[in-house]
Symmetry: C2
Subunit: 709 residues, 2 copies
Amino acid sequence: MSDGADRREPLARLLAPASVAIVGASDRPGSFGARIFANLAAFRGRVDPVNGKYARLHDRPCYPEIAALPHVPDCAIIAVPRAAVQTVVEACAARGVGGVIVIASGYAETGLPDRIALQARLAAIARESGMRIAGPNTLGIVNYVLGAGLTFSAMPPVLPLRPHAIGIVSQSGSIGFALAQAVMRGVSVSHVLTAGNSCDVDVADCVAYLARDPACRAIACVLEGMAAPLRLVAAARAAWQADKPLVLYKMATGAAGAAAAMSHTGSLAGSEEAYAAALAGAGVVQVDRLEALIEAAAFFAKAPPPPADGVAVIATSGGAAIMAADKAERHGVALPQPQPATRAVLEAHIPDFGSPRNPCDVTAQVIADPAGLLACTEALLTDPHYGALVTTHQYAYPAATGRLPVFSRLGAQHGRIVCNVWVPEWLGGPGAEETERDPYLALFHSMDRCFAALAAWQHRARQRRLAPETLVRFAPAPARAEAARALHAAPDRVLTEGAAKRILALYGIEVPAERLVSSADAAVAAAEAIGFPVALKVESPDIPHKTEAGVIRLDLHDAAALRAACSEILAAARQAAAPPRIAGLLVQRMVPRGLEMMVGSRVDPLFGPLVVVGLGGVLVELLRDTALELAPVSPRQALAMLARLRGARLLDGFRGGPAVDRDRLAEVICRVSELAADQAPLLAEIDLNPLICTGTRIIAVDGLMVKQA
Amino acid sequence: MSDGADRREPLARLLAPASVAIVGASDRPGSFGARIFANLAAFRGRVDPVNGKYARLHDRPCYPEIAALPHVPDCAIIAVPRAAVQTVVEACAARGVGGVIVIASGYAETGLPDRIALQARLAAIARESGMRIAGPNTLGIVNYVLGAGLTFSAMPPVLPLRPHAIGIVSQSGSIGFALAQAVMRGVSVSHVLTAGNSCDVDVADCVAYLARDPACRAIACVLEGMAAPLRLVAAARAAWQADKPLVLYKMATGAAGAAAAMSHTGSLAGSEEAYAAALAGAGVVQVDRLEALIEAAAFFAKAPPPPADGVAVIATSGGAAIMAADKAERHGVALPQPQPATRAVLEAHIPDFGSPRNPCDVTAQVIADPAGLLACTEALLTDPHYGALVTTHQYAYPAATGRLPVFSRLGAQHGRIVCNVWVPEWLGGPGAEETERDPYLALFHSMDRCFAALAAWQHRARQRRLAPETLVRFAPAPARAEAARALHAAPDRVLTEGAAKRILALYGIEVPAERLVSSADAAVAAAEAIGFPVALKVESPDIPHKTEAGVIRLDLHDAAALRAACSEILAAARQAAAPPRIAGLLVQRMVPRGLEMMVGSRVDPLFGPLVVVGLGGVLVELLRDTALELAPVSPRQALAMLARLRGARLLDGFRGGPAVDRDRLAEVICRVSELAADQAPLLAEIDLNPLICTGTRIIAVDGLMVKQA
């Protein structure tokens, strides 16, 4: 690279540099510059100090500015005050540096307009030059593969990496480096990438990078929120393609958290349900508390694909065995009973006050008997029912670690992961570090979190076994253009029911036979044509909620009833404070009773079109029993949405209610999602409520559509 | 006590002995006898070895049997094989020993009939002699106040107790002693009481004892299940009376866990919902995972009553501040904004990249500035909005502990607890032990658990502020005897609807006007008397579910419709495989539409009569949105049950539905609970579904009652 050109892509040069310049280098103890230099002590590449105040620093030449360096560094870490940052960044871009790390703070996170503009200027330099910028307001990054501590933060020591190393990605620098301390308890960490204000390089870039880096076996990510979260979804898909588990903790989940996030990073927090659905769809393992993150990532970095669906539990305490059974049930992990040959081995060794079942309480007596422990463990690890073994440790006394070598050796021999649950809360005790270091032993400090991780592991394996799905289109090709024309033509933001239903029909969604008429006589003629009984509604763009307005009558069986209804609902419509525009009367064939569902969609500002399904009626709205996905969805996704509803059993004909053809209903969900995705530029919301379902017939008796403002 | 008599109650002699005999004492290294002797090294009382094989042991006389001891020990710990246990226990009882600890296993936990009988014999000795027996199959107990390790288990060292010591109670010995290791990380523990098979002394006895022991400031309890859980409820009430927080983790919560519990301790696992309701009613703080238990108990042992409802968060990381806001919202803990004077102090010290709000991100800069940290912390601790302070620690490096003395001093000065959340998972780091030892600093290794504990603390304070409630009786005095007569007189287990409604009416629960008739003519006459429209049902003890059987017609508006309905439902009734006995036709005045609720009761085998309330209809059953309490309930309890329903907003008239008078509905719940409690010996189940509610009218339109088998 004597010509100063590096053909590697800029992000790789930033995150895995062969050479680093420290701008603002210093030998003043405690200064950022001195701390960065110390953190590069184990770095295998070249380090050049840049600071006009020194001719030499740290026993090497010190350069007055980037332009004066004898070669082009891959990465420059910029430890100068905010006022000087932009000039340095511009110089780096001009020189062809791969990427820079800006640690100064006081940019967009202050919420001050001039500081937001300052950050935007950095982003523009990155965009225009192709040079990548990490930060500002970042603690920096650590590449443990190269021993490169590109940070002023205290950092855990550089140790030889093991094959099951995890990479840590965090928007918050403080949380990222807090998690990195897992190194100090035996976890192998390949990278710590903290994104800070993310003017250019963000969490999505970091995840995508780690998905490609062979040193990292699993990724642990802490997220606040992103302005373009679909980029993170794409990065997660890349990790999935690389079969690299991505475990994620999403912060700023509630209204209060999101408000704090806005003031912290200036990034938009999107709808939590959309985040959860989009990340789950990309195969992300989501945890709901920070303390589960590294633990789960370290487990996933070691665990092979499950060789069988069941899990065996070997405990030395009846109480621990019960806890395991509770948590297995809570998380849906099967604990099948041993096959007869296994049972025979267990019975031969376990005394009568133990339990030769699963969970297996071998008692302290067997633990103290190496031959017995070996035999019982091997019997469980070779029983074809079991894909993993969970064992529990109650004591932190040195004598309690004798089992670990047995589990490690047998785990290796039979290709099974052995999960060790340290029962006494967070007290590590002897053996914890060795367990973390062992490729066949996983470590948990919570029975609940252990079984949550096992459930996620089994779920991931099932997802990976699924054949890839190609999204097939349901609606005929011209539907898209015709619907767009109808939406353009609609004069108001809220479409009339008739207009909405014509668009639904274009997308192959059944609506009842109906006619728009302008008089009672015409209503009777229409009813006779489509057949009694009918429903009657006022058609008006100004009355989106007809029941509340009293402008709907159901189950009209004859002409007399229909005529009476016409007068009544027109009178009701005219009582509104602002007289509504009335387009006519909608005469609709009554649909037989069935299960009421709702299917809707909305365009999320961050995620784009979403589709939502739930059971119909007021109560479901109150109990929030709905499932959500990014639109469009495949039939498999739509069926999975139905299965997720807490009230899903109603679909099978609960307590004498009608059963519903799930495949047909899933197809309707697909069609609505297709409509939402096709028309997202124009259409803000769709609401089909109720959708009447009887067997294979799924009919939208009402349809509300709202155009984008 | 030269006469060998001790007037203290036997349980206190067992758990806080002045003298201990070790039966089966030994000097063989590793033997139970030798380990017990070693665990008594710090004991302040007298220890006598008993073993026929030795004349002297451990430098003191050894006695051949209990009868040969020169004085009567308060407690004997029996470390002999199972076959010899009963003789020793009988000798102890004969000698007047206060209590014995039986560590041998192989009793009821084996499930073998002869072993169950052996344990029953021990229970009988206790009952007959008044001597208390702990065990069998127990690891024993530790009284740290006296330095008495009455156990063969490894045990944490005896250290000086602090005023905020916690007592540990566990059915499982292994889990109890696992938790006791909290001593090794700085938690002060007064007692470790493990109940084992509980042939006599059980978890309830241990909790009741600790409620009285001034050395223990809070109780941490692990429970599997009990044959008589109301004894535990009574012990919990005693702890509440003593203002001693009881934190409890209930195991064996699921079907699988309960099955494991049966095989482990032979104890019955009762209905989980009943456990949760009964314990909550007694003021117990329940945690859903073991790792929350000691942490919460240690917090409660230190925390004063909350001086204000709000909590302030002081963080050095924007990410940690967001996590705190998330978890506060999740657990319903208010984080109000600082008052102007506080805000001014914060703004004066916090740089623009921090946040002078709540949660407050003071930034690492302020943390490094003792004067700034002191000023900000003091401002928050003296702001009347805040009853507690939460702070977060990201780093386990020695330099990170500088804040602790500031928090401790200011917490002490202003009588506020400061919760320290160690963010990097379970890595304790320097300062953790000092924090545990400090009376004003609580320690958590999970933001989620910290806010869960704060929410429980605030809830507990609200409960303690409530005026005590006396249970007033609603039903008139004679109702009890009259209803009992009617129940006795009912010929079948399932009462007819008419019979059930007469009992409801006795308890002041409104039922529709109705007549039982035996012909269509009589039905028409009855309808004319009570007024059309009416409902018609077949009255039969053999048809509890009328809708499914097609023997009910609603909304009959005239005589013709009523006559037709009579023939139809009688025909439907006769179609049953086994022809039902038909008591007549029930003509019932139709009730106006309203919100449908359900109120029911069942007699639980462990807890006795329970009352359940939920929203009516199929969906609620599916979504399990119900609230449960032990019967009878007070109006305050009944109102709280309604408030707990996820769909509670429906009661206020959601989306144009009818609003319901909650006080009236609560009164009906009270009346049903009174009926269930009064008649529990006779009545197994009550089911009022639907209960039609419109404003202040609450009418049971159907009523099912089932007598005890």
